[in-house]
Subunit: 471 residues, 2 copies
């Protein structure tokens, strides 16, 4: 028996024959990245069914020095959950760890396993009369383990925070194969280092998250939406400040989009509503939630938007008067990415900035891009309330997209250097993975990189946990 | 020149003669713990004026293998910021790093140095028309560096979170004397390991926090308070759920206290209001904030408390109809600790629990204590909304306090074991310091302790940062 066979048999013995996969055809779906741009290789794909099985797989890999690539719903955008081209790693899929272990209505918490699909968690919370507010485009296929490992953002961060803020405790299998039971459902706990937040966002490079205690919120009684037409990004900031002052935590969404975004949506999705008859430079999609009543939400939204109009902060506004109209406005926002995809390829950036820096950032970066690539089109939209912009650059009208993509590196450089000048982040909500690893090394300070490497070496001294990601 | 003299001169050269203190009389105020229970020794107290000076002191200490005890306002309760009795360490006071570097109203952030007094930060936020919600008894003397290093809690955690949730970025001097500029004012940033949250709550054992970016909130237009009389802790939980469902984030405070607490306050502070003519088993102090108006807050509070009375959840209620009345009710709550102190010494516990476990925990722990120490008096109150109880045990009426304190270890054991059985924490908001270090080693899993030790060794390989604290 070869060493390779011995290792394979060990995996089979742990997870069962049907859940240790070695043939190329069966492995294929686990090896390709979500956008289909990259396909890696692996020596095996294993699908443990329990924390104990995960904890048995890890020491087997450690003993054989086999790298482990933890995988959830494989919806990540930065090549964080697929193996590289070497073929020496195993993919450890958490998909079968998909039980909701507990719902605690008095503690407003839920204990879930890493492989639970986000949408199933939302549904279970709703069934218990509560809200799990994490919401993002991939929610029908992404898993909570992946959301935690990438500290996913989404559309409700303004009010409820990132995934980090929605998690009270974790269960983790360490790089040594020990099980850390950190499944605490506590709002206050000051007993040593915050290991929870170290594993959250570590993209599986420090250990494997197998379960989590999630924080639930009371279910709002009403959700209302408005679209506001604005002069400029600066007006959007003014409007945000006004709404937060008047509405406090009732303001649950604030999205910015430019006229070009709405024009793209109108071109490619003509069936969608057109909120305004005439064009305006910028638009804000505003969402208000009320725990009191829909009357309360409507009165608050009307008064607040009215005040913005009176102050000359807003040019025009459309208030949704029904759930269908609210959904229609959100649909416009959500159709920007698909509309841009339909228009051709573009160069994407998932960036964040201090909110106060956004107007200058947009003006400065637009100008730098125009100087370098005259006529290029910037499609800029995103979660303004969180300082998170999707800043996508497309070729001048009528120019070929493939030609333009050849400038990707130069364009990334212009955008990211402008982000750094504004003290922003080159990855707001997508993480680093393998895709942005080199760029991270360029933009992070040596002090920070050294600390990250020291922590990696301390918790995963053999370097078997998702190598080549982040660091 | 001796080695000792060379080191002392190096300190003087860095911070200036007047800010390097070596004589016992001048050092004395820096060596005694807040409660006056312990006085340590030090070879020097240094007071740098800038991050650069801190960054120069650390390598001097590292080269001479001199331990560093970082110190803020010295208001901690667990011997975390005073040196031990050995006398080989220096105290590094951050008090002179007390500038507010920036207030950014559009980003709703403030950049402050570690030595800023909490109250000064609150005042600066208010002056800019915003709220920095961290609030605790020591706010007139504690520093934000200490608040961050202990992840302080306080009375506004239910709505605004612990200090951790109020910080977006840090500046840290590492154990090697490098300056990590992590002063990011970003709501979303997924670029590697969460070093910020690792330093927060590390009690100065991994590095020295020198500055921070704090998150500000819109200032509520109204704050209203009510005191509700209840049957039991379980009724308090029911009331909390009802209020959160009806008021959402407008519920900013929810404190529990027993009849014994109110009786102690009435005895020792007869001038304070007595909310109810007849006694009730338990009371909840409820605080509501509104960004809309005081009318809105009043209507919401009345309707919600009314619903609780109608449902039989509450026995009686007093709604404050003025700011003075609100303050009076809070004063009752805040006088429990001083009243208990006036009644004599007691054995304190700062614990947290899953909210759902609290009724059982109280019943079970009260019973266990009665069985072991018949007649002992439990003074139980705290931030129920966060699951944080101050569970203090006093001798039977008429019995000597000193005799009773001899049982401290046995009583701690009963309470902490009961906390562990309920999956709670032995330190909710005070930290570990030197005081609870041995107890931490008893109650934490070896897996967690091993990870903590590995991180400590990775970031502070010489072990010079606040040794003997936490680990």
């Amino acid at each position: 028996m070869t060493e390779q066979q011995g290792f394979d048999d060990a995996l089979r013995a742990i997870v069962g024959d049907t859940h240790a996969v070695f043939d190329d055809a069966s492995m294929a779906p686990f090896l390709v990245d979500w956008r289909g741009r990259f396909t890696g290789r692996a020596r095996a794909v294993v699908l443990p069914a329990s924390t104990e099985e995960v904890a048995a797989v890890v020491p087997a890999c450690a003993a054989a020095r086999v790298p482990i690539v933890p995988q959830g719903g494989r919806t990540g955008l930065v090549l964080g959950s697929v193996p590289d081209a070497q073929g020496d790693a195993i993919v450890l899929s958490l998909r079968r760890l998909n039980r909701i272990r507990q719902v605690d209505p008095f503690n407003r918490t839920m204990v879930v396993e890493a492989g639970c699909i986000l949408q199933d968690i939302q549904a279970a919370a709703l069934e218990a009369g509560m809200l799990f507010p994490l919401s993002l485009a991939a929610e029908g296929s992404c898993t909570i383990g992946g959301n935690l490992s990438t500290n996913a953002g989404g559309t409700a961060v303004l009010r409820y925070g990132n995934t980090r803020e929605l998690c009270l405790g974790l269960e983790v299998v360490t790089a040594q194969g020990a099980v850390w039971d950190g499944l605490r459902g506590l709002r206050k706990d000051n007993t040593g280092y915050d290991l929870r937040d170290l594993f959250i966002g570590a993209e599986g490079t420090l250990g494997i998250i197998t379960a989590a205690v999630l924080k639930l919120h009371p279910l709002p009684k009403a959700l209302l939406t408005a679209m506001v037409a604005l002069d400029s990004p600066k007006s959007a900031l003014d409007l945000l400040v006004l709404l937060q002052e008047r509405c406090g935590a009732s303001l649950t969404g604030f999205e910015l989009m430019s006229e070009l975004c709405l024009r793209l949506v109108a071109t490619h999705f003509p069936e969608l509503p057109r909120p305004f008859a005439t064009p305006h430079p910028q638009y804000a999609l505003v969402e208000l939630s009320s725990n009191e009543s829909s009357e309360h939400a409507a009165a608050l939204l009307e008064a607040s938007i009215g005040a913005a109009l009176d102050a000359g902060m807003a040019r025009d506004a459309v208030l949704a008067s029904s759930t269908a109209q609210s959904l229609g406005l959100w649909k416009v926002r959500e159709s920007i990415s698909p509309a841009q995809a339909a228009a051709g390829k573009n160069i994407k950036h998932d960036i964040s900035l201090p909110l106060s820096a956004i107007p200058d950032f947009i003006a400065r970066t637009d100008a730098a891009l125009q100087a370098a690539f005259p006529g290029c089109q910037v499609v800029c939209f995103g979660h303004l309330g969180d300082g998170n912009l999707h800043y996508n650059v497309a070729p001048p009208e009528g120019r070929g997209h493939e030609d333009f993509l050849a400038h990707q590196e130069a364009i990334n450089r212009i955008v990211h250097d402008s982000v750094l000048a504004s003290k922003g982040s080159i990855s707001a909500e997508h993480g680093i993975g393998a895709l942005k690893r080199e760029e991270l090394a360029r933009v992070k300070s040596p002090v920070e990189l050294d600390m990250m490497r020291a922590i990696k070496a301390a918790l995963d001294p053999l370097g078997i946990m998702n190598p080549g990601k982040i660091l």
